[in-house]
């Protein structure tokens, strides 16, 4: 870490909020090829190992759902350099002031190709009331696929031989420089049924959403949209048994922000 100016380090330390991410910061400072040539007190001519933090509230939206409206969130954050990052992801829903569903994921993320990050980490599905918690190891790729689809594909391995997969893809279609149509599709698959969480095996559910956001600023964009949710197979059976719908069309209104 020679040659990194103290103030720059302090600034970075400030950004690096928790001890958990320090290894990532250290990774970003891979030993440099810069030889000091007998001037150990000289700084590096270019400090090109910038560590940054990005917090993204991708969705914070109210959904007009049946039987009841609820609030849905999806947020992510990363800290790190160009190659190595620590990612956090969370999503969930709140209904009548109570958290209905929540999960948290943490990944080590490594840029492995121009448009792709390889991610390995863990996911925790929280226990809510009588729904048991689940823990998963996750491995996947996140990046920009050809044709500019933003893709997040993850395979999960859980306890007791459980397995799961999740695929998300979205696209930004610029109607104008600020008005953006963003179609999104999400699919969830489970290796075996998990009745305690209302899941069958195979394709359990999908959501296709069309949102239109307006970027007042790059960082702040309210949106409206509509989402079509479907449950399949055993998952649908269980929903029916519980008197819940197996497909639902929901209007959404929300905001996207990052900093």
């Amino acid at each position: 870490m020679n040659g990194i100016r103290i103030e720059e380090r302090l600034m970075q330390m400030k950004r690096v909020a928790t001890a958990a991410v320090l290894p990532v910061a250290a990774l970003a400072y891979s030993p440099s090829g810069f030889a000091q040539d007998g001037h150990p007190d000289w700084p590096s001519p270019v400090h090109d190992n910038t560590v940054l933090t990005k917090v993204m509230v991708d969705r914070l939206e109210r959904r007009d759902a049946s039987p009841e409206d609820f609030t849905y969130w999806e947020a992510q954050a990363w800290v790190g350099g160009d190659i190595n990052k620590l990612w956090l992801k969370t999503e969930g829903a709140r209904l009548n002031g109570k958290t209905e569903d929540a999960e948290l994921e943490a990944y080590y993320s490594r840029a492995v190709a121009a448009f792709w990050d390889f991610q390995v980490g863990a996911r925790h599905d929280f226990s809510i009331e009588d729904t048991p918690a689940r823990n998963w190891l996750g491995i996947g790729f996140k990046g920009l696929a050809p044709y500019r689809f933003e893709v997040d594909a993850t395979l999960y391995a859980g306890t007791k031989g459980r397995s799961a997969a999740r695929l998300k893809a979205e696209y930004d279609l610029l109607l104008t420089q600020r008005l953006v149509l963003m179609p999104e599709a999400e699919f969830n698959l489970y290796g075996k049924a998990d009745p305690e969480r209302g899941l069958g095996s195979g394709l359990t559910d999908s959501a296709v959403t069309l949102r239109v956001r307006y970027e007042f600023a790059r960082e702040f964009a309210p949106y409206v949209g509509v989402t079509w949710e479907n449950k399949y197979g055993g998952t649908a059976d269980q929903a029916r048994a519980a008197g819940a719908p197996t497909h639902d069309t929901q209007y959404v209104v929300g905001v996207r922000a990052w900093w």
């Binding site: 040659g3 100016r5 103030e7 891979s30 440099s32 090829g33 810069f34 030889a35 040539d37 001037h39 007190d41 000289w42 700084p43 590096s44 001519p45 270019v46 400090h47 090109d48 190992n49 910038t50 940054l52 990005k54 160009d82 190659i83 840029a111 492995v112 190709a113 121009a114 448009f115 792709w116 920009l144 050809p146 044709y147 500019r148 279609l173 610029l174 109607l175 104008t176 420089q177 600020r178 600023a217 790059r218 960082e219 702040f220 990052w258």
Partner: protein, 675 residues
Amino acid sequence: MKIRRNGSARSESINPSRRRFVQGLAAGGALAGFGFLERPVWALNSPAERQVLSGTEFDLVIGETPVNFTGKMGVATTVNGQVPAPELRWREGDTVTLRVTNRLKHSTSIHWHGIILPNNMDGVPGLSYAGIAPGETFTYRFQVNQSGTYWYHSHSGFQEQTGHYGPLVIEPRTRDPFTYDRDYVVMLSDWTDASPEFVFSRLKKMDGYYNYVQPTVGDFMRDADKHGMGQAWDRRMMWDRMRMSPRDLADISGATYTYLMNGATPSGNWSGVFRRGEKVRLRFINGSAMSFFDVRIPGMKMTVVAADGVNVHPVPVDEFRIGVAETYDVIVEPSEERAYTIFAQSVDRSGYARGTLAPRQGMEGEVPPLDPVPTLTMADMGMMHDMEGMDMGGGDHAGHDMGGAPAAGAMPGMDHDGHDMGATSNAAPAPASMSGMDHSGHDMGAMNGTSSKSAMAGSSMNGSAMAAGNMSGAAQSGHDMGGMNMSGSGSMSSSGAGGGMMEVKHHPATEYGPGTAMHVSMVSTRLDDPGVGLRNNGRRVLTYADLKSLDGWLDPREPGRTIELHLTGNMERYMWSFDGVKFSDAEPIKLNYGERVRIVLVNDTMMDHPIHLHGLWSEIESPDGGFQARKHTVVVKPGHAVSYRVLADARGRWAYHCHLLYHMKAGMFREVHVV
């Protein structure tokens, strides 16, 4: 929200606050020492009031100064309280002494851009010295062995962005081979109220953060109207498939930048006076952090007499593109008793710097509208390249990739751009001659005939000698196409007088990592391409092919070896490098003292990169290996390769980097160690 942003000037109406933002305050600039709201030196309209320091002893103080260019108070890094820094006038042969005092809270430096001097006077912290610590005074002393127009700037952090740059003029010992009655520096720069750290973080966090000219559905519909749905669709799909944007023209735009001329905003209108019939020398210096400008003076021919401080055979032009850190000296002869506008539009047409030449102070000429936003073509991308893990080399794709050349929102004549790397002759900007070239050779015709996917089938672009050959034929007669093939080890053979297409067969293994989004397979070695947005615009545009330095090689020896470097980057991640390796991961480039080397730069990105080698001249070769021009900063266009010779006649550790400040900061920087 620190940044006020708005859509492109073209696609959205300009509201009053936007207008003030783009055009700036009439009386904007540095405020310290004058009291707030009083006009700073550079905003004063009389050039006589500019601070010009001349002689052999100089005292310069680096400090922070409140400024107001946009209606919002900011803090600039200044030299003697000014943005730009005071103009320094030296005399060739003199030994100059410059005492530079740092009144900042952090380290600073001054690099004398383009000046040949001892390594420890070069002013690059970490290579020449430790930098100038707060409160310290560093004394530079060296002999001046050249003349012309140069500049100086900080080499510490982002200080160049925040105002630490100034003009440097060296009077020759013997007279210049041209005459003039008046002499003005015209320094162009870009100002943002946002902190450079903030700007850099936005670029890292979001691709296209400052780009408000991205292709929209409206652009698509216009393209479909013009060229048919099939073509428009193919083109859109082609760019999307590559995850690239044909509007990736400038990383930072007028969305945050206010462009300055001699520190004056467009509404501040820097002015120089002339008397009719006089010859006026204008010393253009691009002291921007990130902005290329297309400069013209409507109604007046400019005769280019020097580039990067070195006199060239005079070239009369209507317009020139000035890359970051380049300088051009032009002579103009205003023949009418009226105001002439010096118009410098940014390459992405998101704004402009503007000033006036007039018989009297206070006059204003007509300000021309911004040109249409240019659109990049496949030619600008090296015709074809394989994208990360994608099979793009298939003949199936090649056909319409080639055909994809005409671009959305095309300018008149844009249809020709797909191959005008091979075909454009700057000397003949007339569309008629272009179309003549288009059809000389049926393979060219096929390439132009967009929807004909089969035209190129079976000929992967990597091996499209056919295309190259025909394009060469169309472009100029009689070069040896075989000579254009670049050998894997990277020697660029001569390729005929005008240059042509060069096949890039080999990319360094280090280019196949996350930092490199694109690899060209065909590049143009031509120097006479005016560049995107300037082709066939009806104006005579300067190109490197026009620049012929008055003197010849510094050393007549043939280079003993060739160093090929690829300019690499990934806009999505905002990573920039040479050969896919950023500075902190790279070993220095070693040159042996006294050796003559050839450097070949191959641009594997979609952007222009102004590459600056400290301490040693870069002598650009014409495509046939002859002497072209001696420069300190060499712009490599997308889809191009440029070759230049370097004489390693100065020992030490020299900086070698892209002069786009944020590219440098991202690691597009190497040490060149002459031992």
